[in-house]
């Protein structure tokens, strides 16, 4: 399966999963009172898994389109699009910092556990997803009057999203080497 086609299919798959996740609102398992309600956001994973050599402008446009699709599904105007454009812009810099060689030396490859390893990949994904959630929830709450609530919401949501990301990786990565 060619790389563009695989990404195209992944786009629809991740959107479908995100729509399913929208239906469940999590209160962080045990539902303590006062804990913010949130939805795990898994669609940034699509931006994270685009091929290495995607130019930044294309990343930005793809990120914008992805965000807009989610926005149209969740009726949030352009909040998701704004957050997704931010991580699409930061993605190249994050990868450059984590990879030993320049990006153009990885032809026809996409970031994955296989070529990055578990720890760098989770660092990469965790960092960008945290940024994404930071931007998104800041716009969504639209006030810094209750920073504790905002931080709690961001951290809890990012952690849950990361759980779903790991689940996705375990499901769709073939031949994970035992040493990881």
């Amino acid at each position: 399966m060619s790389l563009p086609l695989r990404n195209f299919l992944r786009f629809w798959l991740i959107l479908a999963v995100q729509v399913l996740l929208n239906k469940i609102t999590l209160r962080w398992w045990s539902e303590p009172s006062g804990f913010p309600v949130f939805i795990p956001l898994i669609y940034p994973l699509f931006i994270l898994l685009l091929p290495f050599e995607t130019p930044v402008w294309l990343l930005l446009i793809i990120g914008f389109i992805t965000g807009l699709s989610v926005d149209s599904l969740m009726n949030t105007g352009g909040m998701h699009a704004a957050a997704t454009v931010v991580i699409a812009y930061l993605r190249t810099n994050a990868l450059n910092a984590l990879l030993p060689r320049p990006l153009n030396e990885y032809p026809n490859q996409a970031p994955s556990v296989k070529n990055l390893g578990w720890v760098p990949f989770l660092t990469y994904a965790g960092f960008l997803i945290l940024i994404h959630h930071l931007v998104y929830f800041s716009i969504e709450l639209w006030s810094f009057s209750n920073p504790g609530m905002l931080v709690l919401k961001i951290l809890a949501s990012a952690f849950t999203s990361m759980l779903f990301v790991v689940a996705y990786l375990l499901l769709f990565t073939r031949q994970i080497s035992a040493r990881g």
């Binding site: 930044v56 930005l60 965000g67 949030t76 909040m79 454009v85 931010v86 812009y89 716009i139 639209w142």
Partner: protein, 313 residues
């Protein structure tokens, strides 16, 4: 030639530098453009965020709109006043008509509505029409004070119509010409008003009192029994059998004196209207007044005679 070549060369270099600069920051520019687009999208949806964005964008234009409005406002004041008056007139009419659709009984302290109005027992013994008018001349310092209104017989105004303002009773139409009419105001010895207090005690309010200098700020209500409870500031209204529409405010109690000779009280009323700067008034017409008058005249024309036969037995 050489000079021109050199300048075009340096121009080329500058353009190239500029293009390099642009391409260097192309991604950043695209990023910023997309984010601005997102902000516009967020602003277009009617959410808290959107309202904030739009409001902050409107702060500047809002300032100018406010300025512009402050200037243009003056030119539309007249029109606004007219429309407000028309609405007032309509509301007054509806209110009085509403008061007559159900009969109300005054029971020492409580007013009990006598059931809902229905087609069978709709008691409508007076029906008022309100006409707005502007006061174009006014006096308060004469022995008998008159107002002149800018409405006359062409507008349906007739003699003996009651005139009220937005705040209270004003007077009675005495002379009518084609386009104007004069109103004898309450500040006159020629007319008295039948008024009632909060608990239903009726009396007569007048302006002139023997042995006191008249002021446009005081009306008098005489011969109020001393056992009637009242407080300073209580309102005094017109009664149903005054020629004014009922429940029109006449004034508030300003001072209470006890007349030693009779043991009754004399109330000083503060008129509800400021007669000095009267601007707009409503001329009221009771459409059943002629019917009522003709019926009442029969009382004096043909007094009820006692039956002779009954007495003899």
């Amino acid at each position: 030639m050489r000079c021109g070549l050199r300048t075009s060369d340096s121009l080329n270099i500058r353009v190239r530098n500029f293009i390099r600069f642009i391409s260097q920051f192309a991604n950043l520019i695209l990023f910023v453009v997309l984010e601005i687009f997102c902000a516009i999208l967020i602003g277009r949806t009617r959410t808290i965020q959107g309202n904030d964005l739009v409001n902050s964008a409107n702060a500047v234009s809002g300032f100018y709109y406010k300025r512009q409005n402050a200037i243009v406002h003056y030119f539309t004041l007249g029109k606004m006043n007219d429309s407000l008056l028309e609405e007032n007139q309509r509301l007054h009419q509806e209110l009085t008509n509403l008061q007559f659709t159900s009969d109300r009984r005054v029971d020492s302290s409580v007013m009990i509505p006598k059931g809902p109005p229905d087609s069978n027992r709709k008691i409508e013994y007076a029906h008022y029409i309100f006409r707005k008018a502007r006061v174009i001349n006014n006096s308060v310092s004469q022995t008998d004070n008159y107002l002149t209104l800018n409405r006359g017989s062409d507008d349906g105004i007739k003699k003996e119509m009651a005139v009220i303002s937005g705040t209270g009773a004003v007077g009675k139409v005495v002379h009518v010409s084609k386009h104007f009419s004069t109103v004898l105001s309450l500040l006159s010895s020629l007319q008295e008003v039948s008024v009632h207090l909060k608990d239903g005690t009726t009396g007569i309010a007048k302006w002139r009192l023997e042995g006191s200098s008249p002021s446009p700020d005081i009306l008098y209500m005489m011969d109020v029994p001393s056992q009637i409870p009242m407080r300073l500031g209580d309102t005094v209204w017109t009664t149903t059998y005054s020629f004014f529409p009922p429940e029109v405010m006449v004034g508030t109690i300003q001072n209470v004196l006890i007349v030693k000779k009779t043991g009754k009280r004399l109330l000083y009323l503060k008129p509800a209207n400021n007669f000095r700067n009267m601007m707009y008034v409503y001329v009221t017409e009771n459409t059943y007044e002629t019917e009522q008058k003709t019926l009442e005249q029969q009382n004096t024309a043909e007094p009820v005679k006692p039956k002779k036969g009954g007495h003899k037995k």
